[in-house]
């Protein structure tokens, strides 16, 4: 804002100049009227006429410059603030976003910013213009005639009085309208979300009646608001007209008495006319300031949110993992009141592999999320190469970890860009290698523009399996020290999975890797396997050791063999839509997947 102070000042100066020049046509008009009464020649009138046009032209240049200058500041501020908000979003942690609605956050960066722009642009420029115009014009009027100025300008405070008297009522009624609007929204939202129940119990007509009752109340509040609010605009007209009426009366008498000339009366009248617009616009300006400051505080709320996970004074600038040894010491993690992980102790030597299995909700994803500090531990320590992750610079830490999340989020850019998402530059060979390891190469070859094909709405829609494989390619392309796969092969058919695992084994040589899986086949060849249940490690060992133990792991294994038999080789659900939703298709208890997916979609929208 400060860096725009100079421009703002320039704008103010321009406004003053523009308003000063704008006083002149009325003066010329007065001269013309007086001249006409004095029976001058036509030539003089022509000069006056030309003068009026010329002066207006010059005033116009200044008006334009003043408006453009003042308003442009608001556009630059809007741009800068939007960038700031965006940057700040990038700093905030996952938890922040999980607690808020996407739509609301986007609104702050768009709608609210527009309101701020309106306040800083038209708001400031109108206000400045009104203040300058009123002062300049009042002085000009004063110089013509003191008495007339006092007579006509006495009515102006009426506007202020009106705002104060009616304003409170208007605000109260407006709040009613807004609150009721919230009710209407809430009612509609509830109905749409619960439409299944509404239909199942044939409540449609009743729901409509209930909605209409709220709707009707909203209308009544709105009308009650309008009853008062409709006063403002006509009042402005009335007050500015009142000044003219007073002028006609007092000024007329002055002309008759010979105290002033008719030309001066006309000049006076022209000034009043020129003031009427800034005065009328004042109500609107006040509105802009009210909305703008409300929006500004909503934006400030975002800008003041502190990221829970960031570099701190503890951070050692030079700490950079080089080997990839991972250790968890007495780690606990709580989300609010609920404990997701308890007393986890774990050691993954550099270059070795770890498999994590366990039922849904056991804490598997939470555990791997601690490595790259998606969350920070509640108690205990996570160490990489013997250094607490909180002491490693965040960017450095994340650079070394290749993470494939459960639900692959791809950006609507090209396949190539998605694969090279984590690196500055990726050669064609490196892209090809990542595509080979993730077994995405053949799919991409069939896309209309190969690796240049856009992903998402503007390009190809990827199946669940393709998305997961893109996620793997993206992590591999980063050339990470530690590779983490969070159930990232669930939508890939068993045959492709085997191929990917074979490729990965090659790739993981010399790197540490952690794989979360629902299928035992994914983890059975890893160096170390842990079984999580209810946030605790309940079993650990190698595949043969765990089978011999005859516990949870062994039971899972048996069930899966059975399941595979049952499903035959039809397991690849890649063809059908969003495979990520069927994340644990093999072992999940019976449920209506179609139904569940729909409801999830609905939830996601809110």
């Amino acid at each position: 804002m400060l860096r725009h102070a100079g421009v703002l000042l320039a704008g103010l100066v321009l406004i003053v100049i523009a308003n000063l020049i704008a006083l002149l046509p009325a003066y010329v008009l007065r001269l013309a009227i007086d001249a006409i009464q004095a029976q001058v020649s036509l030539g003089t009138l022509t000069r006056f006429a030309l003068l009026i046009v010329t002066i207006t032209l010059v005033a116009g240049v200044f008006q334009f410059s003043a408006r453009y200058t003042l308003n442009s500041v608001s556009r630059h501020v809007e741009y800068e603030m939007r960038n700031d908000v965006f940057k700040h979003f990038q700093l905030l942690d996952l938890e922040y976003f999980q607690q808020r609605k996407l739509g609301d956050l986007v609104a702050r960066a768009t709608n609210d910013l527009s309101a701020v722009r309106q306040m800083l642009g038209p708001g400031v420029s109108n206000l400045a213009n009104t203040v300058v115009a009123v002062s300049v014009t009042a002085i000009a009027m004063w110089r013509i005639d003191h008495q007339l100025t006092l007579y006509t300008l006495t009515v102006m405070p009426l506007i202020t009085a009106l705002f104060i008297i009616v304003g409170r009522g208007i605000r109260r009624r407006y709040r009613n309208v807004q609150d009721q609007f919230g009710e209407v929204s809430a009612r509609a939202q509830e109905n749409f979300s619960g439409i299944r129940v509404v239909k199942a119990y044939a409540q449609e007509r009743h729901e409509l009646a209930a909605f209409n009752r709220i709707n009707q109340q909203y209308v009544e509040y709105s009308i009650s608001y309008a009853r008062l609010n409709s006063l403002l605009w006509p009042s402005m007209y009335f007050v500015s007209g009142l000044a003219v009426a007073i002028l006609l009366w007092r000024g007329g008498i002055d002309v008759i008495a010979g105290r002033i000339q008719l030309g001066q009366l006309v000049q006076f009248n022209a000034y009043l006319a020129a003031l009427s617009w800034p005065m009328i616009a004042l109500g609107w300006t006040v509105n802009l300031f009210q909305q703008g400051s409300a929006s500004l505080s909503r934006i400030q709320e975002v800008r003041q949110a502190q990221p829970a996970i960031a570099d701190s004074s503890q951070t050692r600038p030079n700490a950079a993992p080089t080997r990839g040894e991972v250790e968890l010491r007495d780690v606990s993690l709580a989300y609010g009141e609920t404990l997701a992980l308890r007393d986890i102790n774990l050691h993954v030597p550099a270059g070795s592999s770890l498999g994590i299995v366990g039922p849904t909700g056991a804490g598997k994803s939470s555990l791997v999320n601690l490595l790259a500090r998606v969350y920070d531990v509640t108690a205990g320590q996570v160490l990489i190469d013997g250094v607490d992750v909180r002491q490693i610079p965040l960017a450095e830490l994340r650079r070394k970890i290749g993470y494939v999340p459960q639900e692959t989020f791809l950006f609507s850019v090209s396949v190539e860009e998605n694969v090279g998402f984590g690196v500055e530059r990726l050669s064609d060979d490196e892209v090809a290698r990542a595509l080979r390891i993730s077994q995405l190469g053949n799919d991409v070859a069939e896309f209309p523009q190969g690796v240049k094909t856009m992903v998402g709405e503007r390009g190809v829609t990827l199946s669940g399996g393709q998305k997961q494989r893109s996620g793997i390619a993206r992590a591999v392309a980063k050339d990470p020290l530690i590779l983490v796969l969070d159930d990232a092969l669930s939508s890939v058919d068993t045959h492709t999975e085997a191929t990917i695992l074979r490729e990965l084994r090659q790739f993981m040589r010399g790197r540490s890797s952690i794989l979360i899986a629902h299928r035992i086949s994914t983890v059975k060849d890893l160096d170390q396997i842990i079984v999580l249940d209810d946030g605790r490690i309940v079993e650990r060992g190698t595949h043969p050791e765990l089978l011999a133990l005859g516990g949870l792991y062994a039971a899972m294994y048996r069930r899966q063999l059975l399941g595979e038999e049952l499903e035959g080789d039809d397991e690849d659900n890649v063809a059908g839509g969003d495979g990520a939703n069927g994340a644990s298709s093999g072992v999940r208890a019976m449920d209506g997947a179609d139904d569940a997916a729909i409801q999830r979609n609905m939830l996601r929208e809110e």
Binding site: A35, F48, V53, I55, T56, A59, G60, Q63, F64, Y68, S72, F86, Q90, F97, L102, L105, V106, T110, Q189, N191, F192, S193, V197, K199, Y201, A202, E204, H206, L208, N212, I223, A226, R227, S230, L231, P234, Y237, F238, A245, I246, L248, G252, A257, L262, N269, V374, R399, F409, F421, G422, L566, E567, G582, M590, G592, A593, D594, I598, M602, E606
Partner: protein, 607 residues
């Protein structure tokens, strides 16, 4: 590719679209008295406004600066005072007319908004679940709230004030012609170039408006994408480059936004210039007429002329703003009408067959069903469930169980075959009547905001308090409800926040019982977060629910499945086995393996 890029929310709209206006008129017509009343008032307001300069003219010519007068100064002062009073009268009249007009427009707008919201809500109630599957709640919300509100602006500050402005301008022109047609014609010279310049600005602003909308939509999408993908952005250290991309979009938007500022800032001085030219013409030509020996024009008329011209140009200045309002309103109404035009795919016949007393007989005859063409979910399903029988459907995920029971309530229509209730095709029945007899306990026990009691009886006032309590007692919900501070009148917040999953489930059971349907469909999902005590209550309640009525259940509990009369096993949209639990286990087929896979755990836990 190109089609998908332009989302529904990017509909830009024309400022004037005859087809949309005609449809909107259909909503205004019921209130045509208000509409024409406001219009009449607008006309009268213009009249009251335009009297002012004429009174000024009279005051000047008769009293203030008469060419020759016999009146003494005293009488002249009185005359001026009289004129000023008349002026005040006209002002007051204008004030009242303007207020009334404003208020009536607001009322009209609100009434139309009410009807539109109500019509949309009603249409949405009638649409099949398939529509809701494809349209996120957020989008529907925008239609019924923001889009309707954009239309409100159209009424209050768009359409009629535009008509009022037009009246003002026409009125001024007429008055000028009457006062002095020669001078009027001279002033009219500025009108054609003014029209041309305005048209130029209007086109430039429209294009610019569209460019801005598109850029804002891009910024919106980009922010939404980056927030949704925050985790990926952070884990892949992508902040800087994504910011650079966003900065590009933001910059692009600023460029367009500054361009729009350029037009807006330029427009008003340009209009002022035209006004100045008109003023100059009046001074030169009108002044000449006053000076002419014949005194073609009085000095008062000249002053009045100047004031009229001022009034003529006033509405032109905020034309651009009004234009934007119109454009936004048209875009919104197009989206609203799109919802209203959504075809009702699952609809009642004109003369639906009455269902009468329901026995509870359900039959599927060679039913084929798909959500999307070609992707069959059910492939030739046939079965017959007799009144009072309890049947469980089992099968792996995606076998088609949920779809199957959705068809009994006719949430969707089958593509081939027939679904019969008491021997009548559900397509021939009234949906409301069908669903009054077919109850459903859904997977997600949806709780409405309201009270515990209102969640059980919904809107059926016919369900007495006693019946609500009885239903709750029957399904074991009584004890937890009575522990709540206000019992049955306890307020429940949106989505049942504050209630546990198990409690919500019990409430949903109570709801089903209160409605006492002859046929009950139960979707019983595996819920891991129910404590053992509640779990026992739920199991007991489930058994009681199914007693004495036709029940069709998708169960995850072994206890339930063992208690039903018959089990039908689905696999990939076909029936593969059928029989009692014991018979199926004996057969040693698909069910046996499924049973071992899915119920082994609960078996080992001794459920």
């Amino acid at each position: 590719m190109a089609e998908t890029f332009f989302h529904e929310d990017e509909i830009l709209g024309k400022a004037y679209d005859a087809r949309l206006i005609r449809r909107l008129w259909g909503y205004i017509r019921p209130y045509h008295l208000l509409f024409f009343g406001a219009l009449g008032l607008a006309l009268m307001t213009v009249g009251a406004d335009l009297i002012g300069p004429f009174l000024t003219q009279l005051a000047i010519d008769r009293y203030i600066a008469p060419v020759k007068t016999s009146l003494p100064p005293e009488a002249r002062a009185n005359g001026v005072f009289g004129m000023a009073l008349l002026y005040l009268l006209a002002l007051s009249l204008g004030f009242c007319l303007r207020y009334l007009q404003n208020f009536m427009l607001n009322v009209l707008g609100q009434k139309v908004m009410y009807d539109l919201r109500s019509a949309m809500f009603e249409r949405l109630q009638g649409l099949s679940l398939a529509f809701f599957d494809h349209n996120p709640v957020g989008r529907l919300m925008t239609r019924i709230t923001n889009d309707v509100d954009a239309l409100n602006d159209f009424f209050t500050s768009g359409a009629v004030s535009l008509i009022g402005d037009t009246f003002t301008m026409l009125g001024v022109l007429i008055i000028l012609l009457v006062e002095s047609w020669q001078l009027a014609l001279v002033v009219f010279v500025v009108i054609p170039p003014l029209l041309i310049v305005t048209a130029f600005f209007q086109r430039a602003m429209r294009d610019n408006f569209r460019a801005i909308r598109v850029r804002l939509a891009r910024i919106n999408a980009n922010i939404a994408e980056n927030i949704s993908g925050t985790q990926v952005v952070q884990l892949f250290n992508r902040e800087r480059r994504n910011f650079a991309h966003f900065d590009g979009l933001n910059r692009d938007y600023r460029t367009q936004s500054l361009r729009s500022l350029f037009y807006f800032a330029l427009f008003s001085p340009v209009v002022n210039l035209f006004a100045a030219v008109a003023t100059a013409l009046i001074v030169r030509v009108g002044g000449g007429a006053v000076l002419s020996p014949a005194h073609v024009l009085s000095i008062g008329a000249l002053v009045a002329f100047l004031q009229y011209v001022e009034r003529f140009f006033l509405p032109v200045r905020d034309l651009a703003e009004k234009y934007t309002i119109l454009q936004a309103a048209m875009a919104s109404s197009e989206r609203i009408f799109r919802v209203l035009d959504e075809p009702v795919t699952v609809d009642d016949k004109p003369q639906p067959e009455p269902l009468g007393a329901v026995r509870g007989d359900v039959e599927f005859r060679d039913v084929w069903f798909a959500y999307n063409p070609g992707e069959w979910v059910l492939k030739g399903i046939s079965f017959h469930i007799r009144p009072g029988e309890s049947v469980a459907f089992v099968g792996a995920t995606g076998a088609g169980k949920t779809s199957l029971i959705s068809l009994i309530s006719r949430f969707y229509d089958v593509q081939r075959g027939e679904v019969l209730v008491d021997g009548k095709n559900v397509k021939d029945l009234a949906q409301a009547e069908l669903r009054a007899h077919v109850g459903a306990v859904l997977q997600d026990p949806f709780i409405f905001s309201g009270t515990i009691a209102s969640n059980i009886r919904l809107h059926e006032s016919g369900i007495s308090d006693a019946r609500v309590r009885e239903a709750a007692r029957f399904v074991n919900a009584q004890s937890f409800i009575e522990r709540l501070p206000n019992g049955y009148d306890e307020e429940v917040r949106e989505r049942g926040a504050g209630l546990s999953v198990g409690q919500k489930q019990l409430l949903a059971f109570a709801r089903a019982i209160a409605f006492n349907p002859e046929i009950l469909l139960i979707l019983d999902e595996a819920t891991s977060s129910v404590d053992t005590e509640t779990e026992a209550l739920i199991q007991d309640a489930l058994e009681k629910l199914m007693r004495g009525r036709t029940s069709i259940i998708i169960a995850h509990r072994l206890s339930t499945i063992r208690n039903v009369d018959r089990i039908i096993v689905l696999h990939k949209g076909r029936i593969v086995e059928e029989g009692t639990h014991e018979a199926l286990l004996e057969r040693n087929g698909y069910y046996k393996r499924l049973y071992e896979l899915q119920y082994a755990e609960s078996l080992s836990k001794g459920a």
